[in-house]
């Protein structure tokens, strides 16, 4: 006759093996189902067919957490309220951002109506901190249509845009137009200036 403790060990070992086998089979089954759904093209990637709320929540949460983690080590410059910076950012915003994110007094554009996910209307404010906004403007966002402006613009120019974004929700249509007109250089002039090496060198964020 076996000792009772050995018998108990065998029983619990056998149960553990069953649990592991069940987990492995479940995992393989889930993978096979997911692969079949992908192969059959079941997921609708059309931009005029919005995600269901759970999928939207998942994508949004992934995006928010990803941006928050990656932006946490960035330090914002202390002069984001500088009027010159804001005016410079306004000029760039009008050129680079307004066709998707719109602006005070501006009607919805064809591109803003067709993008999915919709580009947020930034005149309504943003939940992002300045460093998060900088990160998004610089690196862009996959599968949203948001480009990585850091590929073509230096950090200083992008901080100007962030400075303007902090001011944007306070502006009406006339104030917005006045600010855009007060930009020290046009976007093309700024780009030329940057290419000639007049833009300041900045740390990599």
């Amino acid at each position: 006759m076996r000792p009772k403790s050995v018998s108990n060990e065998n029983a619990s070992g056998s149960a553990m093996r069953w649990v592991l086998a069940a987990l492995a089979v479940s995992f393989l089954l889930a993978t096979a189902i997911a692969a079949s759904l992908i192969y059959m093209g079941s997921f609708d990637i059309a931009a005029d067919s919005p995600h269901s709320q759970p999928v939207f929540w998942l994508m949004n949460t992934v995006q928010e957490r990803s941006v928050a983690m990656r932006a946490q080590d960035i330090t914002a410059p202390s002069d984001l309220a500088d009027p010159k910076r804001i005016a410079s950012g306004a000029g760039q915003y009008a050129e680079m951002c307004s066709s998707c994110h719109l602006a005070p007094g501006m009607k919805r554009t064809e591109i803003s109506r067709g993008l999915y996910p919709r580009a947020p209307e930034l005149r309504r404010g943003s939940d992002l901190s300045p460093v998060e906004e900088f990160w998004v403007v610089k690196h862009g966002l996959k599968m949203t249509g948001m480009p990585a402006w850091g590929v073509t613009h230096n950090d200083e120019m992008l901080w100007d845009v962030v400075a303007f974004l902090r001011k944007l929700p306070e502006l009406n249509a006339d104030q917005y137009q006045a600010l855009v007109k007060s930009a020290p250089m046009t976007h093309d002039e700024m780009m030329q200036d940057m290419e000639m090496g007049n833009g300041e060198a900045h740390g990599d964020h």
């Binding site: 005029d48 067919s49 919005p50 009607k107 109506r113 919709r118 947020p120 209307e121 309504r124």
Partner: protein, 94 residues
């Protein structure tokens, strides 16, 4: 003369009622330049707009209104559907 006026009024009245009766019920409104109707395409466009809103009371209201609009559409009550879509649209513009 009096009979003539009465007949003219009657004819005018009948014509007006006929015109009103035959006019299609206006179950569409504009969202910006976009014509919104109780159709799947308009619902999708409005849902995308609502999803893009910042979190807050207005977004919660808009989401609830869209859900009711979808329920009404499923029940083929187009007027109620439009009414709730309109409420959702107003919430998106707050």
């Amino acid at each position: 003369m009096r009979n003539y006026i009465c007949t003219a009024k009657l004819v005018f009245g009948i014509l007006s009622l006929t015109a009103l009766g035959s006019a299609p019920l206006d179950v569409a409104f504009a969202h910006g330049d976009e014509k919104m109707e109780c159709t799947e395409a308009s619902m999708n466009a409005m849902t995308a707009d609502v999803q893009a809103m910042n979190d807050g009371d207005a977004k919660t209201t808009a989401m609830k209104e869209m859900q009711v609009a979808k329920d009404m559409m499923a029940k083929k009550d187009m007027e109620a559907c439009m009414s709730h879509m309109h409420n959702a649209m107003e919430a998106t513009e707050k």
